[in-house]
Symmetry: C2
Subunit: 570 residues, 2 copies
């Protein structure tokens, strides 16, 4: 561990000692018991000690080590087992299962901690001269296998942790732009910005454990994107170190200078170089920030309302609606006497029943507003009318405030579930609005059909998370009771059926998690074979030696693609 650089657990999400707790949530254990047949109160196997893992020895050559140490200082060339294992994977469900089992794959031979852009230039040139493979590393929260070396990789593998490059370098207060180093984690970045009255407004679920560079490299999107935009909108300029040269894109609000190089770096997942800093849009902290909760009789009513809101004159910061099962999950996850529980108080339930709602079908929605007091009031008025037109009702801002506090905690629950033999994961997609209800229905049905076929108990639920003029992102969570499983077959089957469901219902392979190695088998279906041909032309032209995080995004026929993915499709 390097001082000042946060590092996640080797076996799970986030910090040691921070774990999901359910004991003050009386409805949670019964909910899990009912839905997947698992008693979460039963004792669990402890995580084995790190020392029980068999970690392959570093293959870093003495020559390259000496060169890298002369560039960075010995302290910043780490080759100890735990650091290397933490950098061997992201935090996908498949990653967590493998690391817990000690299936470590091709662990990097060294983890480097550059402190400056010049460090990155020099280490990259040294690594390329040694024909090493170079994989950039931010917070390590990637869930699409973008951080691991190909299993068959025989060359030296170098993971480059950007965590020391964590400063807001400059705020242009006239333009609303900030120049920020790529290795900064979300909270650290917002602390630096907010201390001067600014915010970037980018809040992905991974916020606490992800970095600016990672967001850019994966085309991230935050939960306030309806107002602040996706990272692709927020990022106006950037610096990327490439072998022998540095790409410098100045911050520009818009341009017509050929195919957008900025948009080629966005989503490049390390295949073009190492992003070291970016110029991003920042905004003055709003006078008012308010999240209102609403209920609809059905999820489809909520989808319609979100579409009408984005189409209307109203301006919202977020508009989120959960399907029936996710609504039940949220309520089951509420603390005793919390606002989430009380919001479906007897009174409100009675009102719903009077309206003829089926309480098993209700859909909960959070809508966020920002701006001056009068602007928030104006927009709440516009939104309220649309909610009512779709049969919905408002229940105030109490639940929204709670949502706001707890919004980053879900990944800890995944580890908790995994301890209990429940494999839980998430997949998200966008479609045009026309297919929003259809993709939800069809993916859900395909999931349950697959569970039935496999004789497993599982659940899938979903929320609409991001709205755009022409469509929306829907975010699916699925969980399978698979305690008896000794490999990932059931998980693979579920993941396949969800991703293929996206393809079959006008969706994209991912809205903001990226492609990595995990989603690459669907790329030809997503952007057509000619689209993959174009991406491959770009990667091959920029990196003919396949040194820059090879094998990600495009299946390029090289050996060593993990077998699970090769079987994903077909």
């Amino acid at each position: 561990m390097i001082e000042g650089v946060k590092q996640q657990k080797w076996w799970g999400w986030g910090e040691e000692g921070h774990e999901y707790g359910y004991k003050d949530k009386p409805k949670f254990a019964p909910f899990v018991q009912k839905k997947v047949g698992v008693d979460i109160a039963a004792p669990v196997q402890p995580i084995p000690p790190f020392s029980s893992l068999e970690v392959p020895a570093s293959q870093l050559s003495e020559t390259l080590r000496a060169e890298l140490e002369s560039i960075l200082g010995a302290k910043y060339v780490q080759t100890d087992d735990q650091t290397r294992v933490v950098h061997a994977f992201g935090k996908g469900l498949r990653d967590l299962v493998r690391v817990r089992r000690g299936e470590l794959g091709r662990v990097p031979d060294a983890v480097l901690y550059p402190g400056t852009q010049r460090d990155v230039e020099r280490l990259l040139d040294a690594a390329i001269a040694a024909d090493a493979v170079v994989i950039p590393f931010g917070g390590g929260s990637n869930i699409v296998a973008a951080l691991e070396a190909e299993p068959g990789e025989t060359r030296q593998v170098i993971s480059v942790n950007l965590g020391r490059m964590n400063k807001v370098l400059e705020i242009d207060e006239v333009s609303g732009l900030a120049h920020i180093q790529a290795g900064v984690f979300g909270p650290d970045m917002e602390d630096q910005l907010q201390a001067r009255g600014w915010t970037m407004g980018h809040h992905p679920d991974s916020f606490v454990w992800s970095t600016l560079g990672g967001w850019i490299a994966t085309r991230s999107s935050g939960m306030q994107s309806d107002k602040y935009g996706d990272i692709a909108d927020i990022t106006r300029g950037l610096t990327m170190v490439m072998p022998g040269q540095v790409l410098e894109l100045r911050p520009l609000p818009s341009y017509s200078s050929g195919p957008s190089v900025r948009e080629m770096v966005l989503g490049s997942e390390g295949r073009l170089g190492i992003i070291t800093s970016a110029w991003v849009n920042v905004h003055r902290m709003p006078e008012v920030r308010e999240i209102q909760a609403y209920f609809y009789p059905t999820y489809e009513d909520g989808l319609n309302a979100c579409r009408q809101i984005i189409e209307s004159d109203a301006e919202v910061m977020m508009a989120r609606v959960s399907d029936a099962l996710e609504t039940q999950y949220i309520m089951a996850n509420g603390k005793k006497s919390s606002k989430v529980s009380s919001m479906v108080s007897k009174g409100i339930q009675k009102l719903m029943l009077q309206k003829g709602w089926d309480l098993e079908n209700i859909a909960m929605s959070f809508i966020g507003f920002e701006g001056s007091k009068s602007h928030v009031r104006y927009n709440k008025g516009l939104v309220g009318k649309i909610v009512r037109d779709n049969g919905g009702m408002g229940v105030g801002k109490g639940p929204g405030a709670l949502y706001d506090q707890k919004k980053y905690d879900t990944p800890y629950l995944r580890d908790f579930m995994l301890d209990r033999g429940i494999l839980a994961d998430v997949s998200e997609t966008t479609t045009p609005w026309k297919y929003a209800a259809q993709i939800h229905t069809n993916v859900t049905e395909a999931f349950y059909a697959k569970m039935k076929e496999l004789g497993k108990r599982g659940v899938v639920f979903c929320h609409l998370s991001h709205s755009y003029h022409s469509g929306a992102c829907q975010y699916f969570t699925f969980a399978i009771n698979d305690a008896s499983e000794t490999n990932l077959e059931t998980y693979d089957a579920a993941k396949r059926v969800v991703q293929q469901g996206f393809m079959d219902n006008h969706g994209t392979v991912s809205h903001h998690h990226g492609v990595g190695e995990e989603h690459s088998p669907w790329m030809e279906q997503d952007i057509s074979p000619a689209g993959v041909f174009i991406q491959k032309a770009l990667f091959d032209g920029v990196d003919p030696g396949r040194n820059l995080n090879p094998g990600k995004i495009v299946h390029d026929g090289a050996p060593g693609i993990t077998s699970n993915s090769a079987e994903h499709v077909g």
Copy 2:
């Protein structure tokens, strides 16, 4: 000419018979006399007859002709001189001067008019098999030399006019998406959309003479982009025919599927293939559409107001402000007793003088509002306060209505000026807000210094045309009295000083005109040498034989780049 496919004059902008008239604008002739010393009432040389041009013979081989005729039908393989000359250039000032002089360069050998995507696939494969050069052609309004073959080109040159592919194929009324063929001209497209209650809201100055495919290929932006977005935002999916394959990008509101192939096609200027259709965002026609006019004591006050408007809670459809000289030009261009003249009526002038304004410095602004009546009222209130905070005042919607009617007429004035020995052209750039005033001042000063050095009379004026969170586009018009000139040296010097001024003051080479051959010398300054390396890797990988509109965007060291550009920089 092909029935149903509009074609511009061979020697100038737009239709035969439609020309600029000044006789009902009493202030215009004195304005021109005063500013550049030209008497526009003096007799002018008529345009020489087309028959006086020496048009190089078509080099289309009989084999390729037979093959293309079998694909398209003989009627749609045109090789007559006038059609070929119309397709030899765009409508840049340099193009107009050259074509009037009969300096025709490498005229295409054939102009093809495909009617279907399948036609395009087959013709492209036939052309590539014959090692021909293929240049897509929309409305022919390009002003950055993106439509002409390289002068030294020895292979056959094929211009592909998409004008028969002009239908709105489908409107997805749930999602607000339309699937539209690439060859449709602006007015024809809006007629088809508006007949069903929809609009795309994309109105570049070239609207009447440009096409959807052209907008996408050049990363166009329209005057209502503050609400509707640039074409890069509007275009959600597209089809592009490539040699031996077809790129199909489905309409998606957002995605994380690697480097954005959509954003590689946007701005590709024919270097990756031929765009045949696109899925674009469309919107219901607004209940109210209103353009209000305002005045500020100075241009800088107007810039500040536009920045504060975009930063505020207000939503506008456009926000435009002209510098002092452009304000005088607009007023001089007003018809006798028109609203533009009357708006600076004695009463208003008196008020301005009372406020201590210098009438030589005032800046005129148009701000557009759309939405429900109450939404427009709400936003006019927010904007009105910002205008007043910056010392400005509103003068109502009369001038804006006139602006709205006349907004596409300026290119005709350029031809009128050229007849009188005045070389007029436009260049536009974006910067962060911080540099908006600086780039205006410095580019203007550099232009006048160059005129002084060359002993020429010229003027330059500017308006802010598009606003974004972090910056704005400023659109410069310059005109030089160069009647005695027999080559384009003065023009080149002026254009160079303006473009280099953009680079030296934090601007981009272009906001929405594109790169072509004209701006390619500045690309390394704009996106850094590594950025050009990335674009070149893309072009070389996709088109190793240099058949797809070669030489545009990236200077690739091939012979035949026109000498004027090679000298642009340094």
